[in-house]
């Protein structure tokens, strides 16, 4: 397991609620290597967010083990091992876009001049140059989400946890950001965990696709992508691409029939 960025073994998490226990994760075995792009796909409530939150030490597992960069999630969090993009933009309304991006940099004690440089670079990366002084409510939902991605990129962690970051965006912007994300990933060698509901998005982006199903939340299939790392948008019409997409769809369908 050495060298794995995330290694989960027989991982389980049961929420205690007023209506009894909810098994959000059950028996999850998963290894994510350095530099991988892993997508999590599955119906609502199958535990995708929960799994990301366990990696991030925002939720404590109730069974099994998990390591992040070879240490406990808590130690990894304290070492600021990851950047997290939440399902909603979660910008602070009293901060301008640039001050929002600066937030983690302030907390990590990065110098003012270095902050300015990183803000400029990351806002450029997500195409928000010119919106530095705007407040979140002055931006569209998609722009807010891009700002929150810039914020997660600003402190340059090696692991990026992204929970449906493009869920609220239109198709065109989404395509563009997908391409940008691949460029970023190729250039920075980051490890990315990416939650999505879109099969094409998962197949286009990933080196590994984790198919999940609910009640209890579990992994039903792990697909290693055979696509090359270099991926123009047109690759989505290739037979190889369609074959992988087909397998993902089959996996999702199998998970569902288990329910009924």
């Amino acid at each position: 397991m050495t060298g794995a960025v995330v290694a989960a073994s027989r991982l389980g998490l049961t929420f205690r609620t007023n209506d009894g226990p909810v098994e959000a994760l059950s028996n999850v075995d998963l290894t994510i290597g350095k530099g991988e792009f892993v997508s999590f796909i599955g119906p609502s409530g199958c535990g995708k967010t929960t799994f990301l939150r366990v990696i991030a030490d925002l939720e404590q597992p109730t069974a099994g083990t998990i390591t992040v960069n070879g240490m406990s999630p808590e130690m990894a969090r304290k070492a600021r091992a990851y950047g997290y993009v939440f399902q909603a933009a979660a910008l602070y309304p009293w901060r301008t876009i640039e001050r929002n991006v600066a937030l983690p940099l302030e907390i990590m004690g990065i110098s003012k001049s270095e902050q300015a440089e990183r803000i400029r670079r990351t806002l450029d990366l997500v195409n928000l140059t010119g919106f530095e002084k705007k407040y979140p409510w002055q931006l569209s939902g998609g722009m807010q989400q891009r700002a929150s991605i810039a914020r997660a990129l600003a402190f340059d962690a090696d692991l990026l946890l992204m929970d449906e970051p493009f869920g609220a965006l239109d198709e065109i912007v989404r395509d563009h950001l997908n391409e940008q994300l691949l460029v970023l990933w190729a250039r920075t060698q980051k490890t990315i965990c990416f939650v999505t509901h879109s099969i094409p998005e998962a197949v286009y982006l990933s080196t590994k696709i984790v198919v999940m199903s609910p009640r209890p939340g579990r992994v039903t299939d792990v697909i290693e992508s055979t696509l090359p790392r270099e991926r123009p948008l047109e690759i989505r019409e290739s037979p190889e691409f369609l074959a992988i997409a087909h397998r993902v769809r089959e996996g999702l369908r199998a998970g569902h029939s288990y329910d009924d």
Binding site: L58, Y82, A88, Y92, W94, L103, I107, Y135
Partner: protein
């Protein structure tokens, strides 16, 4: 122009109704005494003369609105502000105690809220006491505070300000506990992913999130402070302040003076609450709030 008109028209209508009822009340309450007076002096005024007389008594049971207005005008604009009869002077005396007490109370309230939000045992142990403190009537506490402090040689501004503090810390403490706890879970989670210290989470998240709550509770607190300062002037028969005017008025049955002092108190309250409201709006604007 029309919008201004439509905004003020209902307010003015209510005001007119209040004034009308007030005049009727003044007539009804002052008539028996006036009838008595006229009978003893053997006068038989016409109906109109009689009505006028009920509205012009020196010490009416209920002064008519124009009598109060004249008194307020005279004691506000026609006297030197340093004169003992000036309402400006008395308002200033009460105002200074109000502001001092409000400053203490706000600081204390914030301090208590910070403690409660950060120390679980304080949350359990302090809150019941704070709530209990507000169930004790201020009229019972005020004389004790004034007398005890006077015994150790502290008189004047400080004892009154302390009573204001006692009344004003409570809304601030309650409002700020709510405000400091108002950040949503995701905003707190974000801080956790950065491994932010408690102090960083406090200053960069909890404090900015609590600002609207602070101003809302300060509005209540400043009004409570004013009440506290006035009440603090009652038990010792203070020589100056709105409270002393109320007390003197009732000793000598100067009902018009009492009403004038009440008006002065209300005007001070309205001005103070408006200033806090304005400060709140300006602060929120500076913090990038979406204009309402």
């Amino acid at each position: 122009m029309t919008s201004l008109h439509s905004r003020f028209a209902p307010v003015l209508a209510v005001l007119a109704a209040i004034v009308a009822i007030w005049y009727l009340g003044a007539y009804a309450l002052n008539a028996p005494f006036q009838r008595d007076l006229d009978r003893r002096s053997g006068e038989t005024p016409t109906a109109w003369e009689f009505v006028v007389r009920t509205m012009t008594q020196a010490k009416p049971t209920l002064p008519a609105p124009h009598q109060v207005v004249a008194n307020v005008y005279e004691n506000t604009f026609l006297r030197k502000p340093t004169s003992n009869r000036s309402l400006v002077y008395h308002s200033w005396v009460t105002l200074s105690a109000t502001l001092l007490g409000f400053a203490f109370g706000t600081a204390l309230g914030i301090l208590i809220a910070v403690g409660i939000v950060h120390v679980t045992t304080l949350d359990r142990s302090l809150m019941p006491w704070i709530i209990a403190s507000q169930t004790i009537p201020i009229l019972a506490i005020a004389p004790m505070v004034i007398v005890v402090l006077a015994a150790v040689g502290i008189t004047g501004l400080i004892p009154k300000a302390l009573i204001s503090t006692y009344l004003s810390f409570f809304p601030v403490a309650v409002g700020m506990v709510k405000g400091l706890r108002s950040p949503e879970a995701m905003h707190l989670d974000l801080m956790r992913t950065y491994h932010a210290s408690r102090a960083q989470t406090f200053w960069k998240l909890r404090v900015p999130a609590s600002v609207p709550f602070l101003f809302a509770s300060m509005k209540v607190a400043i009004a409570a402070s004013l009440v506290g300062a006035i009440v603090g002037e009652l038990p010792t028969g203070a020589v100056a302040g709105i409270g002393s005017r109320l007390l003197n008025g009732s000793y000598y049955s100067q009902t018009i003076d009492i009403f004038a002092a009440l008006i002065a108190g209300s005007v001070v309250a309205i001005i103070l609450v408006s200033i806090i409201g304005l400060a709140g709006r300006l602060t929120e604007k500076a913090m990038g709030a979406r204009p309402a």
